[in-house]
């Protein structure tokens, strides 16, 4: 074994505090070290040439480069060694910059430590084994979880590149939150007018498959080869036969409050959530449908309704439809699950969600919408009278470490300003009062918009919190402080609109666990790097877009959607995926088949396999690593009491050798 040690000065970054010549001199005497030298910039072309030359001339077979952190140049030097004919996995980096020269002042101490660091690396490299890179094929299809504006935009981008893409949407139509909005800030385009064309585009694209009423049931596999189980809930209407004529819901005798309209209006038991729904196919709400309730009633004596089935000329109604599990493979996954609203019922000062005339921004959106339940009238839900004095309260749930979430929800300042404007447009006698902590209008034309609402639409902005809301004499009394004037304010309002914050959906944790992607303390999915990899996750092949990563407005959601699509497409364009061979390996002779590794593997990358044991003359189970799935975390090696399973590149022998060299 001939180990070569190459010590980098890194200009003066290393050599100023570490006596590199001394390091070279001392380490050259270490057992198995055949050659040791220094150079000003080892990562530069001449530096790499120096290494290659030394390999050839001195017959080196293993390399230690003493330089910066392996995160920066490990790949560089592996490639360099490979070019000189050495297996790239016989290279180790001794980090004598970030972990030594940059954190110590005393040259003597730093030099001694550097020598120790090199000694560790030499010990490790002496136990390195040549490894062969593996390649895995890529399933050239993308899964998008969530059919809101983010998911739709991602699908459009991927379909444009002519790759197949599947949207899985929980509701009966795609469109998500945006479909419920009236107008969008700051330009006041109507949400439907800009969303509908995109919905139509995806629905008509030959590359896009849309599964509505569907959820992800199970995810396994890895980048290039995700196996996904999707549950398609029974819609009770055959999507292929239905023409969307609407006869069924015209005839349906059942009326229940519409979730889509924030329960402000009614819908039928068979319904499409909104007129522009895609697919424009109704769904039966089995809980409320008379046919199903009669069927479920004991004895079945009740006469079943069945009107919709009778009226349908196309035979599309199918009461016997069952949930269906479909299993498909994808090369990449884009998570676009969006957000939900903060539940303000934790706030006693706002009446614990008990007052009918204290509503959220989304209620206001539905009321403002001309196709909404009130036909565009801003009313008091308690008595249906038109609201005149409306108080808006910002930061409900946001920026509240005690009862809500610590972060700013980013969009509430803007949508509240929009609401104040819409209020005035819908009723010119109305007056908006806005309680705020700070106005955060950092976006193109955002600040101008807020200013316009204040100046031209006469919204009164009050900087302060509301301490109490209560009902008295048919009005909602809002008491709060105006901290700028120092006065206590009491407003007799008709309606109070709470700008409830954006929070993660409750199911995110379950989804994160299925996908093996991290989430933060607020249950928002965590990006791989907050600045340099904002739409990637640490799990390769899984990308994030929209508000499931952090609160976002429509422009930002669309931008991250396109960004995620580019990342996914970049992957699909590869012929095959290179995979580091630093994965687990089983020594069958040592394995007892106790299954501890199978249980402990976070990725289900270990299976049991029955083998014929000649010595014991019987069949027995042993562990077997699924190479494509193993990520090389090494957890299995520790639960294995007999050390029958080990990790290439961080093997027990390598680490024990390092410890001995301490």
């Amino acid at each position: 074994m001939k180990i070569g040690v190459f010590i980098c000065h890194c200009g003066t970054n290393i050599s100023a505090t570490v006596d590199v010549e001394k390091v070279a001199q001392v380490t050259s005497k270490l057992a198995k070290v055949h050659f040791s030298t220094t150079y000003l910039y080892m990562c530069s072309n001449p530096g790499q040439e120096l290494i290659k030359k030394a390999i050839k001339e001195k017959g080196l077979d293993r390399i230690v480069v003493c330089s910066c952190s392996p995160s920066l140049h490990e790949k560089t030097f592996r490639k360099c060694a490979e070019e000189a004919g050495i297996n790239p996995y016989l290279v180790e980096i001794a980090n004598i910059r970030e972990h030594c020269s940059w954190v110590h002042r005393d040259k003597k101490e730093a030099t001694l430590k550097a020598i120790d660091i090199v000694r560790l690396a030499v010990a490790k490299v002496s136990r390195d084994k040549p490894l062969v890179k593996t390649y895995v094929p890529i399933e050239k299809r993308v899964l998008i979880i969530g059919g809101g504006i983010s998911g739709i935009q991602s699908a459009i981008d991927i379909a444009f590149a002519k790759y197949p893409v599947t949207i899985v949407e929980r509701e009966s139509s795609i469109g998500g939150r945006m479909a419920r909005f009236d107008k969008t800030f700051p330009t006041l385009d109507c949400a439907a007018c800009i969303l509908t064309p995109k919905m139509v585009t995806v629905s008509q694209s030959q590359y896009v498959t849309i599964y509505t009423c569907s959820e992800i049931e199970e995810v396994s596999g890895h980048v290039g080869d995700f196996k996904v189980k999707i549950r398609k809930r029974a819609r009770s209407v055959d999507i292929n036969k239905c023409t969307g004529c609407g006869a069924c819901y015209a005839k349906c005798p059942v009326k229940v409050s519409a979730k889509f309209d924030m329960n402000l209006g009614l819908r039928k038991a068979i319904y499409v959530p909104f007129p522009q729904a895609v697919p424009n196919v109704p769904v039966i709400d089995r809980q409320n449908c008379l046919w199903f309730s009669a069927k479920n009633a004991s004895g079945g004596t009740k006469k079943a309704c069945g009107l919709c089935k009778k009226i349908c000329n196309f035979g599309a109604i199918d009461y016997d439809m069952q949930d269906e599990i479909i299993e498909e493979k994808f090369g990449a996954i884009i998570v676009a699950t969006g957000f939900t609203q903060f539940d303000h019922s934790v706030y006693g000062e706002y009446g614990y969600g008990k007052y009918k005339d204290v509503v959220t921004g989304l209620h206001f959106e539905r009321m403002a919408s001309s196709s909404g339940p009130t036909g565009g009238k801003i009313i008091r839900p308690s008595d249906g009278k038109e609201a005149r004095d409306v108080v808006f309260i910002q930061c409900v749930g946001s920026r509240d470490e005690q009862k809500g979430v610590p972060y700013c929800s980013r969009i509430c300042c803007m949508y509240t300003a929009k609401h104040a404007l819409l209020l005035k447009e819908h009723n010119k006698d109305a007056q908006a009062y806005v309680f705020y902590i700070d106005i955060r209008a950092a976006g193109k034309n955002y600040e101008e918009f807020v200013k316009k609402v204040q100046d031209e639409y006469g919204a009164i902005y009050l900087r302060g919190r509301v301490s109490r809301i209560f009902e008295k004499g048919g009005k909602i009394i809002v008491r709060g402080a105006d901290t700028l004037s120092g006065a206590q304010i009491e407003i007799k309002a008709d309606l109070v609109v709470l700008a409830t914050g954006l929070i993660a959906r409750p199911e995110t944790v379950k989804l994160a666990q299925m996908l093996h992607i991290p989430y933060d303390q607020n249950r928002l999915f965590t990006e791989a790097h907050p600045k340099l990899a904002p739409v990637e996750t640490v799990t390769s092949g899984i990308f994030l877009t929209g508000a499931c990563q952090s609160p976002k407005d429509i422009p930002d959601s669309v931008a991250t959607a396109s960004a995620a699509s580019v990342k996914a497409l970049g992957l699909l364009l590869q012929d095959k995926l290179e995979k580091e061979p630093l994965i687990a390996k089983v020594d069958r002779n040592l394995c007892s088949g106790c299954r501890a590794c199978v249980v402990a593997c976070p990725f289900n990358a270990i299976d049991m396999k029955e083998i014929e044991d000649r010595a014991l003359k019987c069949k027995r189970d042993v562990a077997e690593v699924v190479e494509g799935v193993c990520t090389g975390c090494g957890n299995c090696t520790v639960v294995c009491r007999m050390s029958a399973i080990d990790i290439e590149g961080f093997s027990n022998r390598q680490i024990m050798e390092e410890i001995e060299a301490l």
């Binding site: 954190v103 430590k113 090494g634 957890n635 410890i659 301490l662």
Partner: protein, 149 residues
């Protein structure tokens, strides 16, 4: 029957003893955190020797045992905060394992200061420095491992 290397250490330590500490760092959070301490030029005592591993879940209790028996005065395991593990769960396993090992060590008379664990994220260069400084201080107080054993 002491390993010759530990004997040598024992002798060299008679005069001016400086603790030697082994640290197992996970590649994704703590190693990067220590890198950040470097890029931010934060100074800390030079007593620590870092062994890079993919995950804190890769640390075998036998590694820790080997360190202490081979003459390291202290051992540190650093990993991602819970929930941040690159492999989603590795640090949870490590936490459970070493909760038991730490208690066992104390039961068998090993100073608990000698074996510590910390969560250091990639953005916590400062925390890394703090952890190392405190650890070195505490192990200095605990004294050389061989003198005690």
């Amino acid at each position: 029957m002491i390993n010759p290397r530990t004997q040598e250490l024992k002798n060299s330590r008679a005069e001016s003893w400086e603790p030697k500490i082994a640290a197992f760092l996970c590649n994704w959070c703590s190693y990067a955190g220590a890198d950040l301490a470097g890029t931010s030029r934060r100074e800390y005592p030079p007593n620590i020797r870092i062994i890079r591993l993919p995950c804190s879940g890769r640390v075998n209790p036998l590694f820790v045992l080997k360190c202490l028996m081979d003459g390291a005065d202290g051992v540190l395991i650093a990993g991602c905060h819970t929930g941040d593990c690159h492999y989603s769960e590795g640090n949870y396993y490590a936490r459970r394992r070493f909760a038991i090992l730490k208690k066992l060590f104390e039961f068998l008379g090993i100073d608990p200061r000698r074996f510590q664990m910390a969560w250091v994220s990639a953005s916590e260069g400062d925390k890394w420095v703090k952890v190392v400084k405190e650890l070195v201080e505490e192990i200095k107080k605990a004294g050389p491992i061989l003198a005690k054993s």
